[in-house]
Symmetry: C2
Subunit: 361 residues, 2 copies
């Protein structure tokens, strides 16, 4: 455990935010060097300037792939100085997602070393590790690009859930912008113009109507957040353009094309699809059954936020989202991970890999 | 007339926008030099970097002061190349307000020269001219500062109305910002936050209620324009702050303090008074009666926009807003002045001054 915590601290000290791409690079090179120093074959990949490191002991078809990321959201400098307190490790990236990179590195190292001590070939280790550098900004040049070149039977995105909750579904994202047009006029004669903000507000109420009455306890239904609104250049003019952006999260029960079409038909402004991301839906897997059998306290569940796991769905890779306990502190100023939960997670994964090696699926 | 048109063209060629304060300075210096070349005493004033030029032939108490301004609103370069077409002079500032500066310069010069030819003292010319440099941005360092040092019996702000319409009332301005607060949360879990934009939109509807049912034909009642709205930093967050700015124009029938208080009590957000400008209300004057008697086609009326004339009310100077015909083209890309109307205006003012000189009030 000490080894994982110390390595997590080393990773946290890299200020690997997307405002400092050079720090993401340095952190990725640190991981590459670490693998090489432990005599573990690894590949340093780079897509559009975003680094990923893959340590793929079984080159052709990896039974189990652990995926994590080293990029983090912005934070003030003190958050990059990790510290332990009351059984928790604090710092930016502690739970999201540097503990996961450290855990998977140490797990792979220990299993390879144990194998070598017994004179077995590295390829009998049923584990691969993929560490990416752009999960926080969409994963396009990290997970999406790297997963395209990897074949595996089962992928665990170590980036969500908690030890007793495996995430098997995450909502999809639909970002719509509504642009209302009006007619400008001098602010002293508003009756000569048509105010785009007032039209936009009417459209906002219409969009809101598509999300009313959806109140299941688990919120597994589509939701909407009116996240941005901007209009007006000059205080003494009737604005002739106003824009609002809606962050919509949808489930497998929504027909997204139909939703876009109906919103477009209902509002007076122009509707632009700014972003559309698929759902993550785990298809079920004998690996998952094996994992649940080993970890009797763990249940499957859902998550509202999206992650790189949606690319598993895109590439038809069976997988789950799972992780240590962070008490929903990711992205916050008191981001932390429960140290004991890392130990539990490590133990379950270690037994799971032994089980897979001894009883291949 | 040719002299006024040519001088107006010279003035239009200065790109005297507030993005180019050095051009406002150059234009003011051009006017100062012009007065000096015509041997007319003038003072170059500067308040907070804003130039004004005063040509005040009667140093103590000026019977009639003509006020205009040389600053203009932004425009593309071609608008600073004046041209004549179909009896109109086109260009930025043609009607707002460079023709007025040129007209008052030429009128003063002609009356002084005529006086001198007859061996009369300059002080018998009952006219002063004030040309300022910041009307378009509030007039604080132009008209407000310069008028404080001038005593006159009657001021004509040559910056509005038309030949057959003298403006004797302009609305006041009240600019209110409403700031709504909420509680941030991740955009995938909007039920955990409180959306400031939605609260702001509810407040906007409440503010709008204070202006409903006011529909007199001349619109001489308070009006409101929702001119700016801004909220949200990040597409995946519930916004915790949202701001809207209301441009309110009020009349003498409104109790502004009461209106602010009632709006503040009705909305859930915080109400900030960003700007408050007085009404212009002409108190009536024997000079105005004399002018109306001379110009039988001219009537008094109201205007919705505010101008530097509000400082006349502030300094208790009887006055009016009047001018040539521009067909409401000020600030537009086809800004122009009807050349014939300048001649009519000049003629009436010239006869008015003769009348004042011959029959002092």
């Amino acid at each position: 455990m000490r080894e994982i915590i110390d390595l997590t601290k080393d990773l946290i000290r890299f200020k690997s935010t997307h405002t400092r791409p050079e720090e993401i690079q340095r952190c990725a090179r640190f991981i590459e060097t670490w693998f090489k120093e432990h005599d573990i074959p690894c590949v340093f990949m780079e897509f559009n300037g975003v680094p990923s490191v893959g340590a793929l002991s079984a080159p052709r078809q990896i039974p189990v792939l652990l995926m994590s990321h080293i990029d983090v959201v912005n934070a003030t400098d003190p958050l990059f100085e990790p510290f332990e307190k009351d059984g928790r490790l604090y710092g930016r990236g502690a739970i999201d997602d540097k503990y996961a990179a450290a855990l998977s590195m140490i797990l792979l190292k220990n299993r390879i070393e144990s194998n070598r001590r017994r004179g077995l070939d590295d390829s009998t280790v049923p584990l691969g590790v993929l560490i990416t550098g752009d999960e926080e900004v969409g994963g396009y040049h990290g997970a999406r690009s790297a997963l395209g070149g990897i074949t595996c039977n089962f992928c665990i995105a170590l980036d969500g859930g908690r030890v007793d909750k495996i995430v098997v579904k995450e909502k999809g994202i639909l970002r719509l912008k509504v642009v209302a047009a009006g007619k400008t006029a001098h602010g002293a004669r508003p009756w000569q113009g048509e105010n785009a903000i007032e039209r936009l507000m009417a459209d906002c109420r219409i969009v809101k109507g598509f999300f009313e009455g959806l109140t299941e306890p688990e919120h597994w239904h589509r939701t909407m957040n009116l996240s941005l609104i901007h209009a007006g250049d000059s205080v003494n003019q009737v604005p002739d353009k106003a824009e609002a952006t809606f962050d919509i999260r949808y489930t497998e029960n929504d027909d997204v094309d139909d939703l876009i079409q109906r919103i477009g038909a209902a509002v007076s402004g122009k509707v632009i699809t700014e972003e559309r991301e698929p759902l993550f839906i785990s298809p079920g897997s004998p690996y998952l059954d094996r994992l649940l059998a080993l970890s009797t306290e763990t249940r499957t569940g859902i998550a509202h936020g999206a992650s790189d796991a949606r690319f598993l769905t895109q590439f038809n890779i069976p997988g789950i989202v799972w992780g240590a306990d962070g008490n929903s502190s990711q992205h916050s100023t008191d981001e932390h991970v429960e140290i004991q939960s890392i130990a539990r997670l490590y133990d379950i994964l270690d037994r799971f890999l032994t089980d897979i090696r001894e009883n291949p699926i």
